[in-house]
């Protein structure tokens, strides 16, 4: 489905380069779900932005379904690949209703039966019709994220790029959104590329996981191996350790104060 070969991304002018991503290669097979884990600044979101063409300074190859992408992405590309952004507050236009957002997306992709499609999209992402004419400020964070997902689904893509889709949400809402994403993947046969700093979320959602550090893809393992802790690279192990899933709570060292 997606093949990234030797991808490099840099920021800055001609003289001063900052390499945000260096020599990253990975493949995502059709129907699978690939996760990228890394701390802030590791370049994981940059990879997604490079794939969809929001960043133009890149080297290396990106292939979708065996055909290599040229610099300017075509309409067909955006029909096949869509993205859900991290910040549910920033990814919706503050002056546009849900209806307007979806209608415009459908219009740009030249669908004619947008009335029917908007209704179906809202149902599919678990928002009722009563949300259709609301402005973003009348929605909660989870509902906004559902709108973002509906917008990404509108052109009927096959590959969905998810950039920390739940990191700004409460855990109870996160569970709802993650379930929604799993259901959609099943019902629509989608392929996911998920970026997150949260190892349990990635382990829950993905089949294969890549660890990013300082712009490089350090290691790629299957989720089963990850659960067993079979990582080759120290960094991946440290990250797992830091996430606290080997950290067992001890009786509070302050308890002696309480007994005084």
């Amino acid at each position: 489905m997606l093949r990234v070969e030797n991808l490099g991304v840099w920021f800055g002018g001609r003289e001063v380069h900052i390499h945000a991503v260096k020599e990253v290669s990975f493949q995502v097979t059709t129907g699978s779900s690939f996760g990228l884990i890394g701390e802030s600044g590791s370049g994981k979101s940059t990879i997604l932005r490079a794939i969809v063409g929001l960043i133009r300074n890149l080297s290396g190859e990106i292939e979708i379904d065996g055909s290599q992408l040229c610099v300017a992405r075509s309409k067909d590309f955006y029909k096949a690949v869509q993205m859900v952004f991290q910040d549910p507050y920033g990814s919706l236009h503050p002056r546009q209703t849900v209806d307007r957002v979806l209608a415009e997306t459908l219009h740009l992709h030249e669908f004619t039966d947008s009335e029917k499609r908007i209704q179906k999209l809202l149902d599919d992402v678990g928002l009722g019709q009563e949300f259709r004419f609301r402005y973003p400020h009348q929605l909660s964070g989870g509902q906004r994220q559902r709108v973002s997902i509906a917008r990404a689904l509108a052109p009927e893509p096959r590959l969905l790029l998810l950039d920390e889709p739940t990191s700004a949400l409460d855990v109870s809402v996160q569970a709802e959104i993650l379930n929604l994403l799993s259901d959609l993947r099943e019902s629509r046969g989608l392929t996911y590329l998920l970026v997150s700093h949260d190892i349990p979320v990635v382990a829950h959602m993905c089949d294969v996981v890549g660890f990013m550090k300082h712009g490089k893809l350090v290691e790629t393992v299957s989720t089963a191996e990850l659960r067993r802790g079979n990582m080759l690279h120290d960094y991946s192990r440290d990250l797992l350790l830091a996430s606290g899933y080997e950290y067992k709570s001890q009786p509070g060292p302050l308890s002696e104060f309480n007994q005084q």
Partner: protein, 289 residues
Amino acid sequence: MTLLKVEDLQVRFPTHNGVVDAVKGVSFTLGRERLGLVGESGSGKTAIGRAILRLIRPPGEISANRISLGDSDLLTMSEREFGQVRGRQISMVLQDARYSLNPVLSVGEQISEAFLSHSRISKSDAFIRSLDLLRSVSISNAERVLSAYPHELSGGMAQRIMIAMMVAPQPQILIADEPTSALDVSVQRKVLRLIDDLVKDRGMGLLFISHDLNLVSEYCDRIMVMYRGAIVDECRANELNRAVHPYTQGLLKCMPRFESPVQRLQTLDRDPSWGIGSDSIEKIDHVTS
């Protein structure tokens, strides 16, 4: 030993659509312990921390039967007297320290300023004390950090400096409002350990406000769970998995578990009766007394 006692604290914000009850009659005590206050966004957890320090801005209103620190009543104090409490006896650490530091002054200037305003010492003494302070929060290249400006610091470094400044006047109580949410996991651990050491060494009381139930259960001695402005559950941290309230249980279950994979996550069915009614408050009285 009880340091802080809060009884029936209420925080209200009038808006043009009516009054919003951010905190509805919360009571608790804080001793020399690490008390975790957990809740989702909008549950009123931050409002509690701010209300204790009288940092709720008008038109927000605070009312309570009692807020006392040791023997002194914080409710009836004048604003002037309260100035002696805020920052000296009760300190607060916020989420992103880089926004709490003044962007146009170097770190050294800000720390020395705090020393100079609190006690009569010379500038060079203040500088030496600032160095010691940074070293106390295990910043190795303290000289360089002192001459840096806030935007040149990493989030973790800025948070350490903030913690150092807050703990310097030897307060009895530290309120930490999501002190690590803006940090990467690896840095998070270090900052938490730092707070822990400081609190332990000085025998302070810590009110740790967070949205992360896992983190709080590992880190704190006692946990209070907030929902819609009320404390719905309270227990010792190591007994969290025996928590009775369906909200707490729901929160625990809806997190993806690394060790035990599931196909679908459980979601939380919110019962409208949670967080209202007096039974929850009674239960808390029962636990604390």
